[in-house]
């Protein structure tokens, strides 16, 4: 087994206060929740997150995350993200609003070694309106300030066309660390993902450090039988953590379904600051590690969530008994 394999606690020690953190997965899918909980336990400060997510809400409530450059702040079908809304209102969370493509292009550009790209995905909108930009405030939070661009966008005439149409320049941002939750990782770090890929690959290529949390560590040779099926090469992965159910309560294609009840309970509890503190005490701070978390969830709950082979999910009408 490679030296890359560590515990979750060790892996999250790699995250420094003020880091720009790229989380893999999207929203309520394959989101590295165990890492969010451990970030809370280790009381990280001033983290800046990127892209399309929102299930990082508890880490916002815990005061770990203070900047967000991205495009989405709801819990999907579960409505508003209570801590994001509250901390934003209190001025503790600074949000720079982007579109989805631009949120992704920031990683793509960094992944392919580009400094900026000419993107047209926000023309006509207020996303492009500089009076709403808060990039300078987010810059102040960052440990590596030079990583956050001076401006959100810059407008220029296209020098390659006859008419010189206006183009929007969008800068790359290189995350300090990417934290991904994948289904399978090889013993040397090769990653295989099932279902929605999100921006995991670009984030992994772009980031200085890459932490991969996986449902399963599998033999590297197994994944190498079909290298075209793998999404992230071993050489880009620095730390590997095996954590079955590590993305709970989000959905992990071909492994387990969304734990809707759990999320709905969270949303209810976290409506108030006190309620959130109680929830965090019960589900994060009083729990030593992920093993204890899984035990607390209990076998009954987990068995109902298991995905069905050949489908990748469990049809809702199959839920009677397990």
């Amino acid at each position: 087994m490679s030296e890359k394999v560590v515990t979750l606690e060790e892996a999250i020690r790699e995250v420094k206060n003020g880091d720009i953190v790229a989380f893999g997965g999207v929203l309520d899918s394959r989101f590295p929740m165990a890492a969010i909980y451990e970030i809370m336990r280790q009381q990280k400060k001033n983290l800046i997150t990127l892209a399309i997510l929102s299930l990082h809400d508890p880490a916002v409530g815990a005061g770990c995350i203070r900047g967000f450059i991205g495009c989405y702040n709801y819990l999907g079908a579960f409505g508003k993200a209570p801590c994001i809304e509250r901390e934003c209102n209190k001025g503790n969370l600074i949000i720079e609003d982007l579109g989805h493509n631009d949120s992704l292009l920031i990683f793509m550009a960094a992944a392919f070694g580009l400094n900026f790209v000419a993107s047209n995905y926000t023309k006509g909108s207020d996303i492009l309106n500089p009076k709403y930009s808060k990039i300078e405030k987010i810059r102040e939070l960052a440990r590596n300030k030079e990583k956050i661009p001076k401006k959100k966008y810059i407008l220029m005439k296209d020098p390659f066309t006859e008419n010189g149409e206006e183009r929007v320049l969008l800068p790359a941002i290189k995350p300090d660390v990417a934290i991904l939750h994948v289904q399978q990782v090889g013993t040397e770090g090769t990653c295989r993902i099932f279902g929605v890929e999100g921006v995991d690959q670009f984030a992994a290529l772009a980031a200085d450090k890459v932490i991969v949390i996986a449902e399963e560590i599998v033999p590297e040779e197994y994944l190498r039988e079909d290298p075209n099926r793998n999404l992230i090469p071993n050489i880009h992965v620095d730390k590997i953590v095996e954590l079955p159910w590590g993305a709970h309560p989000t959905v992990v294609s071909h492994y387990y379904d969304l734990d809707m009840e759990f999320i709905m309970n969270y949303v209810k509890e976290a409506q108030t600051e006190d309620g959130f503190q109680r929830w965090a005490e019960e589900w994060v701070y009083s729990i030593e590690n992920h093993h204890e978390y899984v035990k607390k969830l209990g076998i009954e709950r987990l068995m109902k969530l298991r995905a069905v082979k050949g489908l990748g999910f469990r049809p809702r009408t199959w839920l009677k008994g397990w």
Binding site: I95, G99, K123, E197
Partner: protein, 257 residues
């Protein structure tokens, strides 16, 4: 058969898609997925539904709660990155874009970012997601609950550009065409009616009223001065439409009833 107003909205929106069979569409989170699935079952079997999750030509075997989960990627043509699919807007791949929104104005501008003053007192809502990308490049269908706070004179913040939009880096309003943006809002679908846009003024007018809905109710529930003079009453919802819809969302996940 009895049906809810929201069911009517989904069915009337699905009917509109019958004109676009065989075309590529990109659908956002929520009701758009339900509408397009119903349209594919009944009116446009060859419509290609694409999702910003990197999922192309999806089948949607079961109504998803997550737009990024296995019910979306299941046996789609190819599962690539979010950027691969959503950048198809800029490439010009999608004839139609289908989005929701919290606040829509008479020009079809959509706000899903903040209600109120961005720089002052405001309430944060979902954020753009792919809505701005879809709105910049496709012919959009916008689905929204019919309420005077949701259908407004002008949105508080333009997340998704409609017909009257912000000149880049300024607050100046200009016509969409002036920015060279293709597409534009095709219609607003509500739980009371379908609004389309006047070719000249680019303002929304009521085109189709669902059976049983009163004109006065639409006027009352619309936050801008809306033209109802061109409105016709839509054809009655059929048993087949309703049964198909209820079979698709068998557990009423999207709370349409």
């Amino acid at each position: 058969m009895e049906y809810s107003q929201l069911e009517a909205a989904v069915i009337f929106a699905a009917r509109e898609l019958s004109k676009h069979d065989g075309k590529n569409l990109i659908a956002g989170i929520g009701l758009p997925v339900l509408v397009t699935k119903l349209a594919k079952e009944l009116y446009a079997p060859n419509i290609k539904i694409n999702i910003e999750s990197g999922s192309f030509d999806v089948l949607i075997p079961e109504i998803p709660v997550s737009l990024f989960g296995p019910r979306i990627s299941y046996r789609c043509s190819a599962q690539l990155s979010n950027l691969h699919s959503l950048a198809g807007t800029g490439r010009g791949d999608y004839e139609i874009g289908f989005i929701g929104g919290a606040q829509v104005d008479k020009y079809g501008n959509v706000n899903s970012t903040v209600i109120g003053n961005y720089l002052g007192k405001h309430k944060r809502i979902a954020g753009s997601g792919g809505a701005v990308d879809i709105g910049c490049f496709t012919n959009t269908i916008i689905i929204v609950a019919h309420h005077p706070k949701k259908l407004v004179e002008f949105v508080d913040y333009i997340t998704t550009p409609g017909w009257k939009v912000k000149k880049p880096f300024s607050d100046e309003l200009v016509d969409r065409e002036e920015l060279g943006l293709p597409g534009g809002p095709m219609m607003i679908v509500t739980n009371l009616c379908i609004m389309k846009f006047d070719d000249k003024t680019k303002e929304a007018y009521v085109e189709t009223i669902y059976p049983g809905v009163k004109e006065e109710e639409i006027v009352k529930m619309t936050g801008f001065d809306v033209d109802v003079s061109r409105a016709k009453v839509g054809e009655e919802v059929t048993k087949e439409e309703l049964e198909t819809l209820r079979k698709i969302d068998i557990l009423n996940i999207y709370r349409t009833r």
